[in-house]
Every structure is written in C-alpha cells, then in structure tokens.
C-alpha cells in the first residue's frame, strides 16, 4: 500500500501532462509556467531549508567512534575518520559527498540458525547509490546542451565520452543504462529486503517512482518515441533567456511528460528527503572536527542566569540567623 499510492501519483502526473497537452492544449502551462514555478520553488525552497538548519545551534562536537580519536602521542590517530583539524574535516566531507564513505560501511545483519546473529559486508547499496547519484549528475550536466547557445566544451566532451560505444542511433548513452539499472535496483531493494520494506514509507517510494518515470520518459523520447529535438531546444532556450515561447510545430507530448515529471521533482525537492543534497553539508557528525578536548565549546543558547549568592542570602536573613544561633560570615 505504501508503494501503491506513490506509484498511482506518478501515473496521475503522467496522465495530467498527456491530457493537458493533447486534449486541453495547455502547452504554455506545461512548457513555461510550471517549469518556471518549479525552478523558483526549488531554488528558494532549498535556500530556505539550509538557512533554517543554519539557525539551529550546534552546542558540542559529536565524536564518531569509527576512528581513533587524537590522544596520547604514541597512539595513532585516524585523521580522516576522527579529525581534529579543518583539513581532516574537509577530506572527510569530500569523501562523504563524492564517494559516500559512510554508506561504504554498510553491513547486512542476518539471524541464522542457532540462533546466531551474523554481520556481513554489503556493498551493493553503496555501489547502486553511488552509480545512481553520479549518473544523475552526469545526465544533468549533459542536458546543458539544451540550455546553452554555444555548448561549453566540457559538456560536449562529456557527451562524447558518454556515447563513445556508438551503439545505435541516436547513440546510446552509458549513463542512461547505469542510471535506470541503479534506480531499479534501489526500488527492488525496498520491495525484497523485509527490514527495508518495513521502514519504507510513501516518501521513500515517491521519489524513486518519480525519478524512474523521468528516466523512462527520457529514454523513450531519445530512443523510441522520438520528438523534434530542435523544437525542444528552441523551447528551453526561450525559457533560459526569459522570452518564453512555444515553437510553432513544437515538441511532442512525450517531451511535456518528461518536463512535467522533472518540474514535479524540482518542486517536491525542498520538502522531501531529497533535500539531503544540502543537508549532507550540514551533518554535524561529518562536518565538525572532534576537538572537544582542545577547544571549549560554549552553548550558544546560554543566557545570563539570575543567581542568588550566599552573601545575598546572608544579607536577607542575617538577623534571623543570629537569633537562631547560626554562625554568619559578616557581622
């Protein structure tokens, strides 16, 4: 059930775009208004989220136990896993962002006969996750050829490299294959591993179905239900130069489906788990040097506490204390 609703939602989004373009002729809505709105929501939403996280005080450093902390000189410190310097933290962040180092430690836990609890290495999630994120990034960069008049050389080089197998025409992109395979793996994983299935929510399935929908619609448009790419570029170029216009014999419905799903993803992004794109940089266990023993970290929310000293107490009750025979410091 938790997977069904997101699946139906994505199907409805696809149908909305098809009906909107084919039946209602809302090309301008789906081709201009919604993409602009989605881009604005994405930009403003992510900034809002990151700023709101930035306003949360981080009173202390969270030491992680995956590496030896800096201690006595003859004990070797794990400089990357448990850094005390900015350089160490930056290295840790780079490894985290580009290579998903934390995920590399992923283990699978099994209860075997006995009963015996056993742990084993499980790199598949890391591999699929890394492939998915990298190919998604490369595909995004590759799409810049639709958004730039003189396509930058690095983008052209990337496209050359991506299609160098020269399979079919239009040339098959290696990233397309890896991307769809990785997303499919990440989806099937949620269905087949009982523990993962148990904790998977609609908010986990929806982005997967949506991204799979984007990938499938893109692949369909490039390799199967082809559309006029020049028309597509005329539209995208008109969008980025703020003079939006739908070309006269513009792109086919499949393009609007693809675009609408992407718009949905962008608009959904800041309000969902996908915003971990910004969040990873603000992870306290990753971005803080473990220097609690060297630097004093004062709680940022400490306010001046109203205190009542013994001196003041004695001033208040001196006479009564004397009468009761209690010794006082000042007469």
């Amino acid at each position: 059930m938790r997977a069904l609703l997101p699946f139906i939602t994505v199907i409805v989004l696809v149908l909305l775009a098809i009906v909107g373009v084919e039946a209602a002729n809302l090309q301008f809505l789906f081709g201009v208004v919604i993409p602009y709105a989605a881009a604005a929501i994405f930009l403003a939403g992510v900034i809002y989220k990151v700023v709101s996280w930035g306003r949360v005080p981080v009173p202390f450093r969270i030491p992680t136990t995956c590496g030896q902390q800096k201690t006595l000189p003859w004990i070797k410190q794990s400089r990357i896993e448990n850094p005390t310097t900015s350089a160490g933290v930056i290295t840790r962040m780079l490894l985290e962002v580009f290579l998903f180092r934390s995920l590399f430690r992923n283990l699978k836990t099994e209860l075997r006969e006995g009963p015996q609890l056993s742990y084993g290495s499980d790199k598949w999630l890391w591999l699929a996750g890394l492939s998915f994120h990298w190919t998604f990034l490369l595909i995004l960069i590759r799409h810049l050829r639709f958004f730039t008049q003189n396509v930058p050389i690095p983008v052209q080089m990337l496209e050359h490299l991506d299609s160098f197998l020269q399979i079919g025409l239009p040339l098959l992109y290696i990233t397309d294959v890896i991307f769809l395979a990785a997303v499919t793996f990440l989806l099937i994983r949620r269905f087949t591993i009982p523990q993962v299935k148990y904790i998977s929510l609609a908010a986990d399935y929806f982005p997967l179905f949506l991204i799979l929908g984007i990938g499938v619609s893109g692949v369909l448009m490039r390799y199967f239900i082809k559309t006029d790419v020049v028309g597509v570029k005329e539209l995208t170029m008109s969008l980025v130069s703020f003079s939006p216009a739908i070309p006269k014999d513009g792109p086919g419905t499949i393009f609007y489906v693809h675009l609408f799903l992407i718009s949905a993803l962008f608009a959904y992004f800041p309000f969902s788990k996908l915003v971990h794109m910004g969040g990873v940089f603000l992870s306290p266990t990753r971005n803080l040097a473990n220097n609690s023993r060297m630097v004093r970290h004062v709680n940022p929310w400490n306010y001046p506490v109203k205190v009542h000293t013994y001196e003041e107490y004695e001033n208040d009750f001196r006479e009564k204390m004397k009468t009761a025979g209690i010794p006082v410091e000042k007469e």
Partner: protein, 132 residues
Amino acid sequence: MYNGGKIILGLAVFAGLVTFPFLYNIGQADRQPDLKLDTPVIRQMAVKHCVEPKAFMRAEHMQLLNDWRNEALRQGNREYVSSTGEKYNISLQNTCLHCHSNKKKFCDECHNYMAVHPYCFDCHLQPKENVQ
C-alpha cells in the same frame, strides 16, 4: 545563523550553479537553425519530397540512416521501399546527398545547434562544397 559565512558561501555556489543556464546565455545571440533546401536538384523537383514525410525525417532520420547503413553494408540490400511505396537506392552519397548537397546549410545547421557530432563523415566523403 551559526557558521553563517560558510553556509552563505555554500548557498551562493548553489545559487550560481542553479542559475548557470540563465547567466551563461546573457548577451549571446539567439541563433536558431536556418535550413536551406535550395540545392540545384531540389529546385528541379516538381513535387518536393524526401524519402519519407518531413515530420518523420525530422525525428527519425538518424534511425533511418543507421538502418540504411546496416541494410547496405551488412545485409547487402541496396533497395529501400518507403512508406508511400516508392523505391529508393540505399546510399548516403547517391541518394541523400544527391538532393541535400549543401551539408553546411542542411546537416550542420541543426547538428551544430544541438551540439551533436554524427560520425557519418568519418567514413563517407564530404560533399564538394566542404572540400577546399
């Protein structure tokens, strides 16, 4: 905000990347492809038509060329029957480029616009207009 400097720097980079397509094209002339069909052969045609209808050719020409390559070179079949039942000789040089002898103003217009680099002319001879 805590660590405001670093966070704002990060957000500035993010905003720069997101708005890159908008910023990159500022001041660049909007150059749309301008195909020319006025070659001597096309001018002499009574009914101007390609091997398949225009809409099909626009979207599928690369697929058609790939199929033609496979038919001619791998199957040895040099005859193509179009959707309208007409027979054509499968040949890039003698059929396609016979009419479209203006590669620069025909092929290259869109390919340059879309930044695609077909590898047709890695093997085939370029039309004479380009050989200088």
